[in-house]
Amino acid sequence: MSAVEISSLGKVFNAGSANQVDALVDIDLSIAPGEFVSLIGPSGCGKSTLLRLIANLLEPTSGSVTVNGKSAKQARLDQDYGMAFQQSGLFEWRTVAKNIELPLELKGWEKAKRRARALEMLELVKLADFAEHYPWQLSGGMQQRVAIARALAVHPQLLLMDEPFGALDEMTREHMQSELLSICRRTGSSVVFVTHSIPEAVYLSNRVVVMSPRPGRITKIVDVGIEGERTDATRDNAAFFAGITAVREALRGVEMSDHVRGIEDR
């Protein structure tokens, strides 16, 4: 059973009105358990929309989404996935530990169990000493790590991430990429990851989905042929560069057909 199964998915915003947007047309994508898939493409091609449809924060106009063999809605109600956004979205009136406990609170976990899981998650993102701090006492990168810990707190089989490292500096970003991969190795989660950075997509993913706008669709799926565990040495690996070239070529195809901006070629 695949982690995510998307077939003939379409999304139209403001249907019938003058500002109708065909955000997504005819999307087919199947994600295997434990697989890491990145979505890349110019601004406005529907990456966030696709992620929200998987998360059931939006209803599709046509087609269907299943998560772990259930409807997207049932998967949301069962909290089968964890989600992290570009903005960390921490609740500033809650301590770091209490932020991580929130999804567990809503699941009806008892206090001691919640606290234990929150501390376990903080250990994982190396912020164990900051449990009682408030979000505004943390740097941007630390806040983002808390948000990821919170997304992982229910031990979801699926992780949905929308440009989570967008606000981080290059060093922190690379560090967080390695952290994310090692967390996923331990939990066995599948990941759908939106990014604007080609090297980030290639470093993290088994497959990179290249999208194009107006209307939003998948133009190519690049298989990244990096063997074995990814380490810092991977960034000097020939397969890594081959992946970057392949994704860049695919995006260039998109660019030829349409004037688009917003891809970081770094």
């Binding site: 924060l57 949301r76 989600m83 903005q87 609740f91 500033e92 009136w93 809503l106 408030y134």
Partner: protein, 267 residues
């Protein structure tokens, strides 16, 4: 560290205040201003001590009116904002009306209210204070309940949270700093409203009516002594509402307000 910031925050206004009073004294003495024109601070202080029992009694009357109005108005304001945040259409109906009502000088209502109650009743004044506080609290708390971060709401939906959970865990905590902002505005306003209400008849027992009657009797320095009592009462209300904010907001209210909304969207 702490004492240094106290020094920095308290010392300059204290020095300025003392300087201002000294200048006032000098001007009155130097130009030999007549007492009915402007009384010197030393004379006002002397009258304040002499009439302390009377001033304290009047302060209690006005302060009680202000306090009761403040509490009742805040409670009703909070309740109404919860109702409005729940029912969007009702909010669209009521908000313009609330703004319109707030724009008319509602002090005039005291005169109307005075006719409805016994001549010695304090109720009309308390209703006035309640009304003023109610609108301040309603407008601010309603804003806090509705202007929540879209990311927070999406997160709660992704946790399969009900509307009630979203209210309890996102909207209400988000509104707490707004409530204390409202109270810091409403506390001095409640004192002022309590005074001004006394100018429209009723018992001559509060600070406002005493100030008026002493001025009418050309007892300028005594009137000023009552004004001093009024200042101290307003200040006490403000200080208490500020202290409450510090206690009720984890990690320090104003600090959070500074980093809050900007940081929330920025990061």
């Amino acid at each position: 560290m702490k004492s240094r910031s106290l020094l920095r925050n308290v010392l300059p206004p204290a020095v300025f205040g003392i300087g201002f009073i000294a200048l006032w004294e000098l001007v009155v003495k130097g130009f030999d201003l007549k007492p009915y024109f402007l009384a010197p601070p030393s004379k006002i202080w002397q009258k304040f001590i002499q009439n302390f029992d009377l001033i304290w009694g009047a302060t209690k009357v006005s302060g009680t009116n202000a306090l009761i109005g403040l509490l009742v108005g805040a409670v009703f304001g909070i309740l109404m904002s919860l109702v409005l945040s729940r029912y969007r259409t009702l909010s669209d109906l009521v908000t313009p009306l609330a703004i319109a009502l707030n724009a008319i000088p509602i002090f005039v209502l005291v005169a109307v209210l005075n006719n409805m109650f016994a001549i010695t009743s304090e109720v009309p004044r308390r209703i006035m204070v309640t009304l003023v506080v109610y609108f301040i609290v309603l407008v601010n708390v309603a804003k806090g309940l509705t202007q929540v971060s879209p990311t927070h709401v999406e997160l709660m939906k992704s946790y399969a949270a009900s509307e009630v959970s979203i209210l309890r865990k996102v909207r209400v905590p988000n509104a707490v700093p707004y409530l204390f902002t409202a109270l810091k505005i409403a506390a001095p306003a409640s004192v002022i409203t309590a005074f001004v209400s006394e100018y429209f008849g009723g018992s001559q027992n509060g600070l406002g009516s005493r100030i008026a009657s002493n001025i009418a009797n050309s007892k300028n320095a005594v009137a000023w002594a009552y004004v001093l009592g009024a200042c101290l009462l307003g200040l006490a209300f403000y200080v208490i509402s500020s202290l409450l904010e510090g206690v009720a907001t984890p990690g320090g209210g104003s600090k959070r307000a500074e980093t809050g909304p900007g940081a929330r969207r920025g990061n």
